[in-house]
Amino acid sequence: MTDIGHMLAETANRILAQFDGHSREESDRAALLGEVRKAGLPLVLLPEAGGGAGLGIAEAAEIARAWGRHAAMLPIAELLLAGRLAPLFGGEETAASVSARGNLVLSVEGEQARLSGGMIEAPSFPGCRRVYARATSPSGDCFMVSVDTGNAHDFVAVTGEPWLRITPEDALEIRAIAVDGLEHERFQREGNLLTVAAMTGAMSAVLDLVVEHVSTRKQFGRPIGKFQAIQHLLADAASELTLTQAVLGRALGRPNDPLAWLSAKAQAGRAASRIAASAHQMFGAMGFTAEHTLHHFTKRLWTWRDEWLREIDCERAVGEMALQSGEGGLLSFLVDRAE
């Protein structure tokens, strides 16, 4: 971790330490959002020329990781990305969330922009008024669009947090800015990597909770961690986390290598499922209560594994790339990669 990364993590931890009640109250979420903005966190990815901190994805990932460690109640990946994208729309107030979905089609009829083809779905927060999303024109040109949330349908995700769904017909005040394909790719990559970072934070928190529990909970006259079955479950969980951290670290340093970030997101999904299931197993009935802290983490893992790119879609994308590598080409596909 760089010094700046350390600093950002510390800032995030300091803020989040005040909010560890996992409260769903809008007032608490608004208060947290206030602290986040005061600390300038949404501007981390914005270039310095635009008034931001001009930092990279590796540093921003440290904020996301801290977020995951606290199972904090705001959509950090979306806030960080919205902060970077806001100037595209003329410095529009960053009361915007971000939709990960990618199959929106933008067409222009006269002066009127219209959307079709896909849904806009975004995690909400207090005061959220716009959602940014990727769109392409029928001829394949790339755009970033900003839509108003006025007609959005509210729903509640597995984590208990509010989300917005906007059908293309319900998209109001559509603003569209042309971007190149690289921006679309970058958007995807950053959203997925920030999510992976948040997942590693949550997974490491879960492992710490589990180690503490199996070291202190006694049954049959000894801590349950003395039983080999528990030790092996724990070993598997720790290995999955270590593997995820390794591939995330690699992906954060390789902006031009889609195999790296796709593998990171796929691996994070696999690890999250394993770790969440094992943790619930080792915590027994106690960990299955609303009162216990475990579900705040496991629910996030269950949703994050299929947010941005779903785990299975990452696997399919990797497979499709590999299938294009030519006869005997898999080794070169794996090792001869641009950074």
């Binding site: 092996h232 720790a238 497979g319 590999a322």
Partner: protein, 380 residues
Amino acid sequence: MTSQASPPDSQVHDALRKDVRAFVAEERAAGRIKVGQSWPTFDREFSLRCAGRGYLGMTWPKEYGGQERDRSERYVVLEELLAAGAPLGSHWIAERQSGPQILRNGTERLKRQVLPEIAAGRCTFGIGMSEPDSGSDLASISTKATKVPGGWSLDGRKIWTTNAHHAEYMIVLCRTSPKTEGEDRKAGLSQIVVPLATKGASVRPITNIAGQDEFNEVLFENCVVDDDHLLGTAGEGWRLVTEELAYERSDPDRFLSTFPMLSSLCDYLARQPDRHAAIELGRLVSRMASVRALWLDVIAALTRGEDANQQAIMMKEMGTTLEQEIAEVSRKLIDLKPESVGNDLAAALASAILNAPAFSLRGGTREILKGIIARGLGVR
């Protein structure tokens, strides 16, 4: 060797990688890399050609036949040869662990006698650790070495020694002091280099379920070897064997053994790609990419002089599980009847299926590895 060394995946090593690929292509064209083979497959001629190419003893001191090249360069060569399924069994153990063990702990005379032979590809070593009654519980071994004038006399039995029937030497873990129960059971052990042509050493091949004679049983009956074949000093064998085992853990063989199968699976699926197959393949490839990333982290940590034992063990455990998954997904998706004999995809499939159980047994049984990981987490 510099601390600023470029990692194995750096483009700095492109020329070397190309060189190894050219070698592999030549060997393939000449039919000398066969389907269903892997790094344990014994082929002395192949090892001699590897040595001629400068691929053995790369990091060793020049005075012992090495080239004093960077560790990363060795990893580049290993990665390419392992992924190709090359038959490295004649030199594998000698080059990657026995040689370095002797380099660290052998007498000068022993080093000069053995190391250049290994670097030249002329020497095979066997690992003398397991016994019929001592597998995972290595400290319980009972092969003993009794002091005699000018040397040691060995009595006992070793088993599961890969390629011992071809080996010139074996490093034997033995008791040089009587066995005691309780905390001292790891004391009194030593490692001795035994030339297998020595009177009193006899080797009996054991055929495995895949029909290969890789395993052996080695019997020692009053087998006398010279004093200077003792590694380190008598009684420090447990520390030596622990170091030797740790040394092997950073090598990429533990996730690349079935790479040829994965590559063949990819080629097979590419002929008629479908969504389901792409997902299955992608799951394996993304896992492979992740394990490789962990491997690179382990190497980077070792290069910085840090302990990476916990990560290396995790890498090994997940690597061998991946190897078994590759065999499993391949047999599900490849619509061919596996054939035990042959040189094509059907034979590769049979080989993968038959050899799969051994991946999580050899060089550290899975359940033992998980126990070590748990200990590293503080729960054991």
